[in-house]
Amino acid sequence: MTTKQFTRRFCGIALTTAALGATVVASTAATTAADTAVTLTVGLLQDIDSPNVTVGYTVAAYETWTLQYATLTDKAADDFATIPGLAESWDASDDGLTFTYHLRKGLKWSDGEPLTAEDTVWTINTSRDQEWTNHFATTVNLTATVVDDRTLTIETAVPDPKLPTMDVYIVPKHIWETHAGTVDDLAAYDALDGVGSGPFTLQERKANQEWTMVANPNYWKGAPAVDQVVFRVFSDGDAMVTALKSGEIDVAHLVPSQSFEDLKSESGIVTVAGAQGGFTELAMNGMAGGLGDGHPALQDIEVRHAIARAIDRQSLFDRVVKGQGEMIDTLGVSPSPEWTPTIPADQQLNYDPAAANQALDDAGYLDADGNGVREMPGGGDELKFRYAERSDSVNGAAIRELIEGWLKEIGIALEVSVFDDTQLGQVVYDGTYDLFVWGWTPFVDPDPMLSYFTCDQLTTDAASPGYNDANWCSEEYDALYLQQNQELDRATRIDLVHQMITLFYNESTYVVLYHDADTQAYRTDRFTGWTQQPKGTGPVVFTNSSPTYFNLTPIEGGGGDDSSSTGLLIGIIAGVLVLLVVGGLLVVRSRKNSDERE
């Protein structure tokens, strides 16, 4: 084959390829025209695990349920205050153990069936009896009774400061009772019925792809302005951000921190570093559970304080999470900031490596052999800690690099192992670690988070693990916990919680590094009404009751990117055809020529 023939054939192939490419490009224009419904597209990095409220547990699933199932009481967008939901009012008995709820008039399920007290009572009582995963914690002590169609009473066996807040998802009895014969039956129920009482109901679910929710005309507040909400799953954060920029999605949840910074300068896009009270901590093995083989030095509070002082939390906050979130010294127990105390200046364990070194010297942890690593008082084991790095965190390596460097400054060495969350959980249960960095996200009520650090929750048997991964507990803390748990006066309860958190800060094995942000970004060109919960600090979607979806209204003429011109399309297709024919001819001709070759 001569050069010329080759060139010609190559051109033929290139033309054909180009033509195919053009077809593909042309197709985009063709596809965007169809929809007339107002659609909000939400990008996220996690799939809904199950639409069944007794099965799923991902954040994505909660968001779906929140939209689909209204609750007896709602949470105020501004501050989580308990406000009327399905129940328009309620009365408490004098002993604070019985509550009577009055439902709104004319409540209907999305399928048109009436929503009555019977649905509510059935949900509460069945979830208690069958120990539904997500309901049970709330309903364990409750007994609900139907008074009439619109009235029910709920009785609690123990005083409960969380009441009258009643935020469990009420499911339609007429659908669910056929599936709830046994717990196994219920777990197997796919819950794709799409019948709910919230603003949107599930219409279609494509696994690992997207799920679509449509407006519920029977929602007690009225039909939302948005016709449908599409949750779109991305397996890569970068791809999600690109989709946001190109307008494929309207809002993105858990934007990677770097992209978040990049998006700040993007016009038409608003970034929200929403606080939910979630935090990241450095945990040390206090060995309170008795399991495992934590380093003895970590049971010495001086060492723990020295470690806390050796860590430049501000620098870590600025560099690793790019200042997204908040520099708060203590546990976050609720998205609501009122529960978080301020640590008195004299108690704060701020970055001060010199003081940390001094403290260690004073406590007898000296580097006798001069290798840069201190030993236990009177010689013996080195202060060389096993650090369990969390591989499922994007920031795990960076945090480890920094902490390793800082601890080196105070004569502490690390031996790093890396674990994914499942493995790390096991390591924590087994107590075979010295340090790890992980995080928590609290519920609205502080009780659950506070409960995790009680002695009850210590893991004393790896086979039945508890929540207390600080591996630390104190009688004083436990006493305060019991007190706040039954304290019905809110101000007193807040004070008790502040005491607990301060105690925890001073004595426990946790060094809270920073409070995480729920990094979100949304486009401003198509919708208004984005609502942060709580006001000013919270995120706009995936909040506790996610008021944004109902509040959004489309902007007139916004996002009018559907400029499909049929003429152009036909032109492109015609051009493609011509190219294909010409390309094909060239290929055929060059083949003919090459046949003369011997």
Partner: protein, 315 residues
């Protein structure tokens, strides 16, 4: 000629000079055949390009400690560096989200990538050779059992198994090496078994047997020498696959985050929005590093294979 010629006549005109010993002849032979291989390689321009690139990378990897301080890999020491600085004279490949010099990471990453590639290959070839040789040489039920095992391992999905193993075993370089090694040996085993069977069919093996050679002799003198080149060739061709697998595993976040490898750099670039942010310098150097090393090894390996593999040499 029924009487043996006396020693004194050993250098008679009929016989000429004789070599000092058989060992010397064997040594000469090895040297000559190595020289032959080298000649063959030198004639192959692509192979030489591959070799040069490979040597270059090996030198870089070797010289990493002198070219860049290992401490610069820790974020604790990069606080003063700008973040996401594009390539410049100070930071040849720019910096990443924590101010790490991408060039330094690239340099140190080459060590990890090459090391893992090499070790995983050795493990894989080791297991594969052992099983392939044993099966081919002993035949019979040993062969049946081993080949059944190989068949089984051959259909176990490689990457998913690697992912599961990497997820459940303790993280670390040796885990990666182990995972690659134990998931990729079956093809080597099959190849070697086939080669042993072919060699066993050869007339010269028959001749050796009729000379009175035992199994050990056959293995040592005929089968191994004839299989070794193939082992060598498949080793060179397995290195790229090991490197690529390491890349994929690290990219998926299953590598060892405590040591910077090229795949790990890709993972970190992806996690820190280098793509959407247009920060190409974070993923182009490691990617191109992989491409060039793999290409170089492949070019070299294919040339070597053509020279060493008796099936290809005839062409």
């Amino acid at each position: 000629m029924s009487e043996r010629i006396p020693e004194a006549e050993a250098t008679s005109p009929v016989i000429g000079s004789v070599p000092r010993s058989g060992r010397a002849v064997a040594w000469d032979r090895r040297r000559a055949s190595a020289a032959g291989v080298w000649r063959g390689l030198r004639n192959d321009r692509l192979a030489m390009v591959g070799l040069v690139v490979l040597v270059l990378f090996a030198l870089l990897a070797f010289a990493a400690p002198w070219l860049s301080d290992e401490s610069s890999l820790s974020a604790a020491n990069t606080g003063d560096n700008p973040i996401w600085a594009p390539p410049s004279w100070e930071f040849l490949f720019g910096t990443d989200h924590l101010g790490h010099s991408v060039a330094a990471q690239f340099l140190w990453g080459s060590r990890i990538s090459l090391f893992v590639g090499l070790m995983a290959t050795l493990l894989q070839i080791g297991i594969g050779s052992l099983i392939g040789l044993t099966a081919g040489f002993f035949g019979g039920w040993v062969d049946s059992v081993l080949m059944r095992l190989t068949d089984w391992f051959l259909v176990v999905p490689f990457l998913p198994l690697a992912i599961v193993l990497a997820a459940v075993l303790e993280r670390g370089l040796w885990t990666i090496i182990l995972v690659i090694g134990i998931t990729s040996w079956p093809s080597t085993a099959r190849l070697l078994r086939a080669q042993v069977l072919t060699v066993r069919q050869r007339l010269y093996v028959d001749r050796a047997r009729s000379l009175g050679a035992g199994r050990l002799h056959l293995m040592r003198r005929h089968i191994l020498p004839n299989v070794t080149p193939l082992i060598l060739a498949s080793t060179t061709l397995a290195v790229p696959i090991s490197i690529l697998t390491e890349t994929t595993l690290s990219f998926l976040g299953l590598g060892d985050p405590t040591s910077t490898s090229w795949g790990g750099m890709l993972n970190s670039a992806k996690d820190n929005s280098a793509i959407s942010g247009g920060r190409w310098w974070a993923y182009m150097p490691p990617g191109l590093g992989i491409v060039f090393v793999v290409l170089a090894v492949t070019l070299f390996g294919r040339a070597l294979e053509e020279i060493l593999d008796p099936r290809l040499r005839q062409r």
